[in-house]
């Protein structure tokens, strides 16, 4: 077992239920390290916090007990700690080393933030992943942001959401950035909603070079600021952007960074980004000049429209654009684009495509089980036209889960039909 490489251990652990994973965590240092890395990779995705995906389902299950929404949650934690022996009281109280500071209502949130500084000062060193909600009606939630960087020396990922720019900047301008501590493990940063670019810039000035994953949503900035900011994240290899105009954003940022994984989500919650103004061709045209050898994964969410008026495209006469991104290995794309001109234009020249996911956007299959025959019918044109390296197509739909009271994705998988047996 000691000789098994990390990826094989990850494969074994991926089958384990949570209880057994907890046991394995204690077996030896190496196993603990592999599990920690694996959980980080599979569970902690800031984007999932607001969008139900398989990852969100995992977060929901695994972070129970790590979410703090009121002073009572701190009191509960203190109560449990008080039952431990004095030497045990400094141990990690956060499940999977994850802390979520969330708001249910202003009153509870205010009370939570009154007790938060003491808790973070005492236990902040145990937090690896933080999701931090800020609300301008609770000024302490803004003030306490300072605590994160000064008391969480082992932090790996931080996601802020619902920042109100004016209030935040008032506080941020008072910070002395020269005193920000070194955080050697800090590599993932996310901003979900109402973010000012000034704030991102403040953090980028200090931690930009070590950030590898960046997620942005509802960012307010003009084009010049994009240029200024993006150059401050020279080692970024994963970029997730949603509810932004991707054409403008990528035109400005991709020339700076050789992104490996690009994820774009459009037109879900932001009315002014009229979904009809985006189509795959426009986006790909924008991205095309920046495709590099490193660009391997493209994920497109949202109701992208086709420019084709008659999208039963005559495939036989269709020529793939020579500029298609050949380095792509994994693509996730809205199901609504299946069979359109844009769909083939994107995929026909991708010679190394290994994974394709079609994501349902219009609830065609919600709460429905897709049968084998139905799946094969959907995928049949793709099997015929795309390289045999592509062996599996996934179709992502959604299903309401009564236990959790919300929708979670269901993924149906279709394999390339078996070839005729050679006699």
């Amino acid at each position: 077992m000691e000789s098994l490489p990390t990826e094989v251990l990850e494969c074994i652990f991926s089958f384990l239920p949570q209880d057994s994973l907890d046991s394995c965590f204690q077996v030896c240092d190496r196993w603990a390290e592999v599990i920690d890395k694996m959980l980080k990779k599979t569970m902690w995705n800031p984007w999932s916090a607001n969008n139900p995906t398989a990852e969100a389902m995992l977060i929901f299950r695994h972070t129970a007990g790590s979410k703090f929404e009121s002073a009572e949650h701190i009191a509960e934690m203190r109560n449990k700690i008080s039952k431990l022996t004095p030497s045990e009281r400094t141990k990690n109280p956060f499940k999977n080393r994850t802390l979520i500071i969330n708001m249910k209502n202003t009153k509870d949130f205010t009370a939570l933030h009154q007790g938060l500084p003491e808790m973070i000062k005492e236990f902040g060193g145990h937090v690896h992943h933080l999701l931090y909600y800020v609300n301008h009606l609770v000024p302490q939630s803004v003030e306490n942001m300072w605590l994160i960087f000064n008391n969480m020396k082992n932090i790996r990922s931080v996601t802020f959401y619902s920042l109100q720019m004016d209030v935040v900047m008032e506080w941020v301008n008072r910070w002395d950035m020269s005193t920000f501590p070194t955080l050697p493990h800090f590599s993932e940063l996310g901003f979900l909603g109402g973010i000012t670019f000034q704030y991102i810039e403040v953090l980028a000035n200090v931690y930009g070079p070590q950030i590898q994953k960046l997620s942005l949503r509802f960012v307010t900035a003009n084009g010049d600021k994009f240029d200024r900011i993006v150059g401050k994240f020279p080692n970024l290899n994963f970029l997730k952007v949603f509810e932004l105009d991707p054409r403008e954003f990528y035109r400005r940022c991709l020339k700076h960074i050789p992104i490996r994984h690009l994820s774009i989500s459009i037109g879900r919650e932001r009315k002014e980004l009229d979904e009809n103004q985006f189509n795959l061709i426009d986006i790909m045209e924008t991205l095309r000049p920046f495709f590099s050898e490193e660009f391997e994964i493209l994920t497109l969410f949202g109701n992208l429209k086709s420019k084709c008026e008659d999208c039963s495209c005559n495939f036989d006469g269709f020529q793939a654009s020579p500029g298609s991104p050949k380095s792509l290995k994994e693509v996730a794309i809205p199901l609504s684009l299946l069979g359109t001109h844009e769909f083939w234009e994107l995929l026909l020249n991708v010679s190394n495509l290994r994974k394709l996911m079609l994501m349902e956007t219009e609830d065609n299959f919600k709460n429905k089980v897709l049968g084998k025959e139905e799946l094969q019918n959907l995928c049949e044109p793709i099997w015929r036209r795309l390289s045999s390296d592509l062996q599996t197509i996934s179709i992502r739909s959604r299903e309401f889960n009564k236990i959790f009271g919300r929708c979670f994705p269901v993924i149906f998988t279709c394999h390339r039909p078996r070839p005729q047996i050679e006699l």
Binding site: I12, L16, V27, L84, K355
Partner: protein, 169 residues
């Protein structure tokens, strides 16, 4: 039928069809590399696997033979599709195939499947190991897999306490 000679670390040679061998990602690459570098298109490739002994290589080839008409699974299938491939792909034949093996052989088979890039075999062997972990205590897992705790001093106690807290939650 085009053949390829696959030689184990202890020198045993297995003559298999190239079609079958190409179901291993590693062997497929080796065959294609041989073709590109060889002037004689009829020449029979010979591939030496220095890390896998004959007994294990025979098991891998036996599994490939049985599953020669299955779709080839991408190497990182589980990452986005979630779990379940191993369970879905495990047949009665697979269960009978794995049943007589002791843990040492299973470990060698996992390493071989990983090295030769045989995703289906890797999945079912990993699933088998998983079944030997699930439901066991930390000490039982250590005994079963002959592992020693390498935590220093009170680190183990600390981890145990951290875990106790998690379980209580």
């Amino acid at each position: 039928m085009a053949l390829v000679r696959v030689i184990s670390s202890d020198g045993a040679a297995f003559l298999v069809s190239q079609r079958l061998a190409k179901r291993s990602g590693k062997l497929k690459t080796e065959i294609e590399t041989f073709r590109k570098s060889s002037d004689n298109s009829e020449a029979q490739p010979e591939i030496r696997i220095v890390t896998i002994r004959a007994e294990i290589l025979r098991l891998v080839l036996q599994w490939l033979q049985q599953h020669q008409n299955d779709p080839v699974l991408p190497a990182n299938q589980n990452e986005q599709d979630g779990r379940g491939d191993a369970e879905m792909g495990q047949s009665q034949w697979d269960r009978d195939f794995l049943a007589p093996m002791d843990l040492g052989i299973v470990m060698e088979l996992i390493l071989a499947a990983n090295h030769l890039e045989v995703k289906g075999l890797l999945d079912i062997t990993c699933k088998l190991v998983e079944s030997k972990i699930t439901g066991r205590t930390v000490d039982e897992i250590r005994t079963a897999f002959k592992l020693k705790s390498d935590f220093k001093g009170n680190e183990e106690e600390q981890t145990r306490l951290e875990n106790r807290w998690c379980v209580e939650n």
